[in-house]
């Protein structure tokens, strides 16, 4: 575990230190069109954003959005499975053109990479057994709460957990919810989209309260105003013609309002 922490630390360090490549004269927008392929980073282990369907093909909200973007650019999509910790280095090193990976917009991240307007607003919710009600964070004192390591849920709970509450970290969403089912933790904090699916599958579990809200955007390299503007135009058009709404109904169980900056 220590090695892993060290590695993650280096990942974060490198993300800030590595020189941002490809901030050359040509915009990524032109480069992508010329290449005929857009390299998109997605996470295939984060349903409902990114997952493998029953035929072992990539699917999900983020993946579908990536396909719409490629369609409107008139290029092929190259989906690259990445990890949460590698999202930023993959962009700064020029390996990927954009990252669509339930990517919460934060001011800190925006110092290193650029974010488009929001493509989804997810909430972080507390899920536990329906017969053990909890209504606020203070109710978690003396209890163990599971989160997925390095996810938005982990960041939120690390910051907000009251004194006396224990935060237990797991490697992926499946392990986190397994820990709840196995009784290793009293409750978990997870994304609202995922919590709805867990609720449907396990009637004994219930979403107790909302911990926080996280707007998510598409990540790209800084200093590429052309490409950023095209992506924002694209998001605006997909919203106006209802295609984003359709994806939200399909994957998230309902439409949410998308704030713009």
């Amino acid at each position: 575990m220590n090695l892993r922490n060290l590695a993650m630390g280096l990942v974060a360090l490198a993300a800030t230190v590595l020189p941002a490549k490809a901030q050359t004269t040509t915009s990524t927008l032109d480069a992508v069109i010329q290449r005929g392929v857009i390299n998109v980073g997605v996470g295939l282990g984060t349903p409902p954003y990114g997952l493998m369907d029953a035929n072992m093909q990539p699917d999900g909200y983020d993946v579908s959005l990536a396909k719409l973007i490629a369609r409107d650019l008139g290029v092929k999509v190259n989906l690259v499975d990445t990890t949460a910790a590698n999202r930023i280095p993959n962009l700064t090193s020029g390996k990927l053109d954009i990252v669509i990976y339930s990517f919460s917009i934060t001011a800190e991240r925006a110092r290193t990479i650029a974010f488009t307007n929001t493509v989804y607003v997810d909430s972080q919710v507390y899920v536990s057994a329906s017969d053990k009600p909890a209504t606020k964070l203070d109710d978690l004192v003396g209890k163990k709460t599971g989160v997925t390591r390095a996810s938005t849920n982990d960041i939120v709970m690390t910051r907000k957990a009251p004194q006396g509450a224990t935060v237990q970290r797991y490697e992926d969403d499946a392990s986190t919810s397994q820990a709840l089912l196995a009784g290793q933790v009293e409750g978990i904090v997870t994304s609202g989209a995922l919590a709805r699916a867990i609720e449907q599958r396990n009637p004994k579990l219930k979403v107790q309260f909302i911990v926080s809200q996280a707007p998510m955007g598409i990540g790209l390299r800084r200093g590429d105003a052309d490409f950023l503007h095209w992506l924002n135009t694209e998001i605006f058009m997909l919203q106006t013609n209802g295609e984003i709404g359709e994806l939200q109904r399909k994957w998230m169980g309902g439409e949410v309002e998308l704030p713009r900056f």
Binding site: L18, K21, P47, G94, K95, Q200
Partner: protein, 217 residues
């Protein structure tokens, strides 16, 4: 939204096992070449050549493989070269296994008594002939168990290649586990596949050891 863990998922796991096997093979072949070179440098007797090999081993053994892979993949890209993921993984694993195999083999060669060298020289054999005909055949027997032990570790370490975007066995397990929410079943299946690979290696090594043991020295 969730799927039930089934044959399609097992197929996906097996398919991703080919990456695990390919990465292991690359690491072994690259590491064998690098390791032989490092071992030779270590026993060369030249202070500078030995020193370079020592520093190499010191740095690579003292760095987590995850970090080595990260530096090769993202670091070289930062310098302006676009290195494909497979090349980055090949370089990273070769650097890593070369350092470990080099030390294992150096130890094995040095475990062959000085008397063997002196006897061979007295018979008029040169350095290379002595190495080839006298020392290596004896060293192989010493080196075999730790070499196979390292190979088994290496097979499992290929899981780290997911950092450069490979969907190998462990990453495939995570993906299937997330899609099915049946982590226990999925990871048991993943463990069984790793076990099949590693126990095959161990079995082959035992057979080889037995064969070498019956050969008169």
């Amino acid at each position: 939204m969730f799927q039930t863990f089934g044959l399609n998922h097992v197929g996906f796991l097996l398919q991703s096992t080919t990456w695990t096997l390919l990465l292991s093979a690359i690491a072994l072949v690259g590491g064998a070449v690098g390791g032989a070179l490092i071992a030779l440098m270590r026993i060369s007797g030249n202070r500078w050549v030995d020193g370079i090999a020592r520093v190499y081993i010191y740095v690579l053994q003292g760095t987590p493989l995850l970090v080595t892979l990260f530096i090769v993949y993202f670091g070289i890209a930062g310098l302006g070269f676009d290195l494909p993921a497979l090349a980055a993984a090949a370089i990273g694993f070769t650097l890593y296994s070369g350092a470990f195999l080099g030390e294992i083999w150096r130890g094995a060669v040095q475990s062959v008594g000085r008397g063997q060298w002196e006897g061979a020289f007295a018979l008029g054999l040169g350095w290379w002939r002595t190495m080839q005909k006298i020392v290596v055949p004896q060293a192989v027997r010493v080196a075999l168990p730790p070499t196979v032990g390292f190979c088994v570790q290496l097979v499992k370490n290929t899981a780290l290649a997911s950092i450069v975007g490979f969907i190998e066995l462990t990453r495939a397990g995570q993906i299937v586990s997330s899609a099915t929410f049946q982590p226990l079943q999925v990871y048991l299946c993943v463990a069984a596949i790793y076990f099949a690979i590693c126990s095959t290696l161990a079995y082959a090594s035992r057979r080889l050891e037995q064969r070498l043991a019956t050969t008169p020295a």
